[in-house]
Subunit: 129 residues, 2 copies
Amino acid sequence: MDDVTSLLRANAAYYEAFQTRDFESMKQIWAADAISCIHPGWSPLAGRPQVIESYRRILVNSAQEPLTCSDETVIVSGDWARILCIENIGAGKLAVTNLFVRTGEGWRLVHHQAGPVAAEVPQQRRVLN
Amino acid sequence: MDDVTSLLRANAAYYEAFQTRDFESMKQIWAADAISCIHPGWSPLAGRPQVIESYRRILVNSAQEPLTCSDETVIVSGDWARILCIENIGAGKLAVTNLFVRTGEGWRLVHHQAGPVAAEVPQQRRVLN
């Protein structure tokens, strides 16, 4: 399987684990160490214990809205890769960095940041006003 | 100079270029290719022309508020490194990922994302209510 396909699968697995609240899968998706994360509105978290605990708390939160991923851009540089994408949550959109490293067991997530995309003024509205 | 010191200097150079609106320096801080960026509220940008053009537009914008960087966390993994930090803009705070790659000319920026940190409820307020 080529790198881009493998990376898109690893990225999709992250959102699948998120959607199904599968904490055990989420733990496997992340690399073994030197991981970090910036959740929307949060300060940065660094270190596997801190990052994994944040996901445990998020995945048990029954108020978490359904989330889908779209608009993936994959940038591979040797054993490191970024996927930039959009997370769609209700009417809201978050812009995302997912940073992966190649390991003996495949691509593993080492960093995630998500932050809000400002709502765009619809084209029609701009024309009419 | 050790990696952490070099990286903190490269990160500081980014904020210095931002603060002084030094577009020529900003262009040198970024790697030659495969760069990407997510400005606050923006969708992801990928590719040197797109990223550099976004900085040209931001640096000529006279409405840009002063910005300082604090709370740096440096994570080095071989020839790749992340600095997680906080950008302070007036009373607001942004949480930041700056991703660097080691090149023959030193560490160069390959990806930047900044997104808002939610205001915390002051301790006193929580006690009083």
